[in-house]
C-alpha cells in the first residue's frame, strides 16, 4: 500500500485560524520530541521494559482530539504517549510514569502502556490489544444512562479489529446508539503482520458500516483533515445519533516496540511515508501560506525542548514507591454508605 495523497477538495474547510494552526503544530512537535527523548532515555536504561512509539502518527491524536471537549472521555492503547500529552496530562507526570516513579500519572504502577488520568477523563492506555473497546462502550453507556451528552473517543490499532471484542463492541455501540467515536489508527502493520494478512475485508470502513454506523477514511498524515473528520463525527455522536467510526490511515515510522528488524516492510515504503511526515507536511504548508515564520517554528521547538527537559528533571528527581504501600489500592477500602 502506498502513502495516500492529501485530498482536500472533498473535505470541509478546517478553518485554520493562525493561533489554532500554531497550536496543532506545537502539539505534534511536543509528541515527537517527547518520544525522541524517550528513545535516549531508554538507551540510557532510565526507561525500561516496553516502549511503543507514536512517531509518524502524531497528526491523528492531535487532530482527532481537537473535537473533544473537557468532559469527553478518551480510551487509548499502549501506544498512547501522544494522546496523553494532547489530552493535557502534564509531560512530567507522563515521564515520571515511564520511569516507574510514584510521581507518575499512574503512580508508577502502569508504566508506558498504562497512562491514566481521571481528571482529564483519560481512561487509560491498555497493554491488551482490543481491551479498550468494551471499556469505551461502558463509559459511553454510563454517560448515556446519566444523561450527559458526552463523547467517548476510543483509539485502537487496525490489529485490534481481529479480536472478538471489536465485533462485540461495534455491534453493541451501534445497537444501543451509544456515544462512542471509534478511532482506528490504521498504520498498516500489527507488529509484523500487514492488514491484508489478517483481515478478509481490508476496507475497515466497509466493515464498520455493516454495523450500521457511519464510517469514513481519513488521511492520517494531515492534521487538518484529521481534525475536520473528527469534528464532523463527534458532532453526530454528541447529538445522540449513535457511534461513528473513523479510519485514520497513518504509518508508524519506528519499530513496533523499541527494537525489531522491520523485515516485514521495505525501506522504500518507509521512505515514501516519511515524505509525508505529518509535522513536515503541516509546517511546510503553514510556511507556504505565510502563517508561520521560521522564527516562530524555532520558538515552538525551544519551548517544547524546555518542557521536555523539565519533565526529565522531574522524573529524575521523582521517588520510588515505598515498599510499605505495595498492596495499597489492590482493593478499595471504601463501601457505599
Amino acid at each position: 500500500m502506498t502513502a495516500p495523497q492529501a485530498r482536500t477538495s472533498d473535505k470541509p474547510n478546517p478553518g485554520l485560524e493562525r493561533e489554532h494552526a500554531l497550536d496543532l503544530l506545537r502539539q505534534m512537535v511536543r509528541i515527537r520530541r517527547f518520544e525522541e527523548k524517550c528513545v535516549e532515555l531508554y538507551s540510557a536504561g532510565k526507561i525500561r521494559g516496553f516502549l511503543h512509539l507514536y512517531i509518524g502518527e502524531e497528526a491523528v491524536a492531535v487532530g482527532a482530539m481537537q473535537a473533544l471537549e473537557p468532559g469527553d472521555a478518551v480510551v487509548a492503547t499502549y501506544r498512547e504517549h501522544g494522546h496523553a500529552l494532547v489530552r493535557g496530562i502534564p509531560a512530567e507526570k507522563i515521564m515520571a510514569e515511564l520511569y516507574g516513579k510514584q510521581e507518575g500519572c499512574s503512580g508508577g504502577r502502569g508504566g508506558s502502556m498504562h497512562l491514566f488520568d481521571a481528571a482529564t477523563r483519560f481512561y487509560g492506555g491498555n497493554a491488551i490489544v482490543g481491551g479498550g473497546l468494551p471499556l469505551a462502550v461502558g463509559l459511553a453507556l454510563a454517560d448515556k444512562l446519566q444523561q450527559r451528552s458526552r463523547v467517548t473517543a476510543c483509539f485502537f490499532g487496525e490489529g485490534a479489529v481481529a479480536e472478538g471484542e471489536f465485533h462485540e463492541s461495534m455491534n453493541l455501540a451501534a445497537l444501543w446508539r451509544l456515544p462512542v467515536l471509534f478511532c482506528c489508527e490504521n498504520n498498516l502493520y500489527a507488529m509484523g503482520t500487514a492488514l491484508k494478512r489478517s483481515e478478509s475485508e481490508v476496507d475497515l470502513c466497509l466493515k464498520a458500516t455493516s454495523y450500521e454506523m457511519p464510517a469514513w477514511p481519513v488521511d492520517g498524515m494531515d492534521v487538518a483533515l484529521c481534525e475536520a473528520a473528527a469534528r464532523r463525527a463527534a458532532l453526530a455522536v454528541r447529538s445522540g445519533e449513535g457511534p461513528c467510526f473513523l479510519e485514520f490511515r497513518t504509518y508508524r515510522f519506528r519499530a513496533h516496540s523499541m527494537y525489531d528488524p522491520q523485515l516485514y516492510r521495505t525501506k522504500a515504503e518507509i521512505a515514501e511515508w516519511e515524505k509525508r511526515d505529518p509535522i513536515n507536511l503541516f509546517e511546510a504548508r503553514l510556511q507556504e501560506q505565510g502563517i508561520i515564520s521560521s522564527d516562530e517554528i524555532a520558538a515552538i521547538e525551544a519551548a517544547v525542548a524546555g518542557e521536555i527537559d523539565k519533565s526529565v528533571e522531574l522524573a529524575e528527581a521523582g521517588t520510588w514507591e515505598p515498599i510499605e504501600s505495595l498492596t495499597r489500592f489492590v482493593y478499595s477500602d471504601r463501601t457505599r454508605p
Partner: protein, 326 residues
Amino acid sequence: MEITYLKAINEALHEEMRRDENVFVMGEDVAELGGAFKVTEGLLDAFGPERVIDTPIAEALIVGAGVGAAMLGMRPVLEMQFGDFISCAFDQIVNTAATLRYRHGGLASCPIVIRAPSGAGVHGALFHSQNPEAWFTRVPGLKVVAPATPYDAKGMLKAAIRDDNPVVYFEHKRLYRSVKEDVPTGDFTVPLGVAQVRRSGDDLSIVTYGGTLHQALEAANIAEREDGISVEVLDLRTLLPLDREAILAAARKTGKVLVVHEDRLTGGIGGEIAAIIGEHAFEYLDAPVRRLAMLDTHNAFSPPLEEFILPNTAKIVAAVRDLWAY
C-alpha cells in the same frame, strides 16, 4: 552441543515438524517475524506457510481453531505471544479443550500444545510479566508443564506434541537466553508428569520449577558453602499431573520442605504441595512446610518493587536458613 533454552524449544519444533506432518505451528507473528522472542525463527523457511501460520490477533480463535484441527488428527502447537494473554483464550482452554475427550465419551481427543512465554523480571509491568499456571493446574483434562532447562524444554515439548491431551507449556522468558546446556542431537523425549532431583541433599528439600529452579540451585550452593546445610532440589517440571511420589520422597528424605515459585503465593501450586505432604508425610516432617512465592499483589513496574515482590536467590537462602533453624 551447548544450546540455549530458546534454541532448545526451536529445535524441538523443527524436529517434531519433520517427524510428523500433522504437526503445525500457529499464532501471532510466529511465521514471518519468527515470533516476538524469535522462538519460531526459521520454521517458515523450513516448512512453508501452510504449516507455520500467522494468525490475526485473536487468542480465543487460535486455541479454538487448534482444537478443531486436533479433532481431525492434526497436532497444532499454538503460541500465545505472552502468557499474560492466555486469559483471552481461557474459555477455549478450560471449557472446550480440557473437557473434549470426557465430553465425547472418549471418542475424540485433543492433542494440542499451547506455548505461553511467562514470567517476570523483564520490567514488563502488569500484562507482560505474569505466571498464570495456577489458573490451569486445577482443570482436569489439561496437562501443565514448566520446564526449566534446555534439555527439558526440548524433551518436554516433544513429549507434549506427541501427547494426545491438551498441554499448556509455560516457558520462562528470563531463561530464553540466560541458560545454556549440552543437549544431545538425537531424538529424545522427557516424560510428562515426572519430577527430577536436580541436586541431592540430606538436610532440607526445595521443591520448585521453571524460572526459580536456577535461583534455588544457586541458593542451595550458598547454603552448603556458608552454612553447611545440605539441600536437595526437586524440579517438578510438570505441574499437572504432579509427581506426588517424588514430592513425598523429598519430604520423607529430609523432613524439611521449602516450596519456591514465581507464581503468586495464594492459590499457587505450593499450597497443593504443602497439602499433599501434610496429608501423606506428616510423620516425617521436622518443620512446617514453608512457601516462598511472589507476594499476593499485582506485578509491579517500579524496579525496587518488582525486586521486592519476586523470589530471588538471596530470599531463598534466607528461607533455607530460617527453615533449617526451625
